[in-house]
Symmetry: C2
Subunit: 353 residues, 2 copies
């Protein structure tokens, strides 16, 4: 049986060549858009292709060229507004540059992340954009690099990797928010996160760690003692976190201002406030990270820290594509983007109980 037989349903470049009456190489050249081709041959091929409904096979193309024009994106939580927006922006800028995107979700779980990276390597993506779940267990990223698959870190930094990264200046953002509280007269200011503090600070992701540091620094700069009881960490479990917040609200020396590390945390805090009868901004003040749409629909509208997600995503994508297109040598770079404090109605002078 000849190799050029009809193989089933999908027409191949050979089929087109035969239908056009030219050689496979010529057909392939015009279909693939490379090499020379006479104008009449081109015409013939294009017609035949249209007639047969030819669709190029990217697998075969990648197989031959060794490049897939695809970048893999590995994020911790696609249901998180912040990452959803980032993914959206990443695919937009990648597409604009001729790259496709494949996505994987890790649920903040290192094992899932490891296997996601493995799958991407097997699919031979040209490069990776990753928001690593851990700043310690990064062996799979080291391996990716070793296999010649460059990566850029999204939103999270991992110093030991010496990798390219694009993130928010979380230290400055937290510092600014806390300073705003201080400026309004607050002294007992709480930081609330749903990350687990297990194993110590170094196991926190860099954004959370840096926000904590910015928080402490701002207090110190204002001459306020840092009270560890005011820094609350959950464990991904909202009920548990709510309990801790409730305790703090009902203690003798309750906080008068709260900085929520994410909008999801702010939601938990709001429900506790309602439950214990604290009202914003009369009784307590609140600022949260992430400018979620709903924050202007509550009463009062929330003062938030808005992050330039689109810029972040474009920057990370462009950095990676830069690497892919030849810039293998320049040293790794950590890019930090500034967040913006948007003042709305949730910060006020503390009431004197």
């Amino acid at each position: 049986m000849k190799t050029n037989e009809r193989s089933g349903t999908q027409p191949t470049a050979s089929d087109v060549a035969r239908a056009a009456g030219v050689s496979r190489a010529t057909a392939a050249r015009v279909l693939g858009g490379y090499g020379y081709a006479g104008s009449e041959a081109r015409e013939l091929v294009l017609n035949a292709a249209k007639r047969l409904g030819y669709q190029p096979n990217q697998l075969a193309r990648s197989m031959a060229t060794g490049r897939t024009k695809t970048i893999g994106v590995v994020v911790a939580d696609i249901e998180n507004l912040y990452f959803a927006r980032a993914i959206r922006a990443i695919t937009d800028t990648a597409n604009a540059k001729g790259f496709d995107v494949v996505l994987a979700n890790t649920d903040e779980n290192v094992d899932l992340e490891r296997s996601a990276v493995r799958v991407m390597l097997a699919k031979r993506v040209d490069g990776l954009i990753v928001s690593p779940a851990s700043s310690v267990e990064v062996d799979h990223l080291v391996e990716a690099r070793k296999m010649g698959c460059p990566f850029v870190l999204l939103d999270r930094r991992v110093p030991i990797l010496q990798a390219d990264s694009v993130a928010i200046d979380n230290f400055a953002a937290a510092h600014e928010a806390v300073s705003a509280f201080v400026g309004a007269g607050h002294k007992r200011i709480a930081l609330v996160s749903n990350s687990s503090l297990q194993g110590g600070q170094k196991y926190l992701t860099s954004p959370v760690r840096e926000r904590l540091e910015g928080y402490k620094a701002a207090l110190q700069d204002a001459g306020i003692r840092v009270d560890s009881k005011l820094a609350i960490f959950g464990a991904g479990d909202n009920d548990n976190l709510a309990r801790k917040v409730r305790n703090l609200c009902q203690s003798e020396e309750r906080a008068t201002a709260f900085l929520a590390v994410t909008s999801a945390v702010a939601l938990v805090i709001l429900s506790v406030f309602r439950e214990v009868g604290l009202s914003i901004p009369g009784d307590v003040s609140l600022i949260c990270f992430e400018n979620a749409d709903w924050t202007i629909a509550v009463t009062p509208p929330l003062t938030v820290i808005s992050q330039p997600i689109k810029e972040l995503a474009s920057a990370v994508t462009e950095r990676l594509i830069g690497r892919l297109e030849g810039d293998l040598t320049s040293p790794s770079k950590e890019t930090l983007l500034a967040a913006t404090l948007i003042s709305r109605g949730s910060v006020n002078t503390p009431s004197l109980d």
Copy 2:
């Protein structure tokens, strides 16, 4: 130069074979997990593979088998909570069945959808899950089918395609919500959507169309005249939609109850209410589709229609994989899942102005 030379960085199955001292076929058999292999040969190969850091090349594998074990997901808006959750659930169940997922976003734009589908076909995904932006322009889906790439519709139905689909029973859900309003004594009930009504109802996506129909039917069942001024459609533009809602709120015969087609629309409505000084549930009642997290953080908590997204996504994925694994013949099936009305604090008896 022999073909088995070290080609650069990535070791191939041949490299492993040579290092293990067996034939390429044997090595391939154990590495690929198919065919027979003696236990000592297997041992040898596995060791060599580990030593060289062998990673299989999926491209080559797919090339040879004709299957990629990958499904393409094409959604209208990844930033939309509803789709984000669906994507998450789809990847989870696909992974559990040994499939990878590649994702594309279309922004509700048919041209982007067309090109996304084309890319997926070029990547030779085994099948597609699509929430089509249009129920009219579906030529690319017809083409996909013709090329032997099965697809299942997610959340949206397109009768003319005669395709498998899994969606919510939107008619019943809207009917139930409106009946709840009626039961509380409302007569002037509005439906608000940000879809464009341009070109008539048939251009609406099926969920919006069916919600509109359920809304009308419920009114008729209650003996209430359907007033077209009470069905508000935007055009994706929030400011414009807000203006229309404001007009309705300030007109002589304002509505006393609002059914929002999405949580994003509810946000727009809430801001208008605040602006014109209408309070829930004293002055107006509100129900919205989508059980977004924030709906319990506003005052009062919103009565919502909760959709079983996870079940929806599992069902759609399983249906597709079923098709992929041999069930090519059975007729297409439209699955409808029931939504649930969750009563919270935003529905009340209408005030008498």
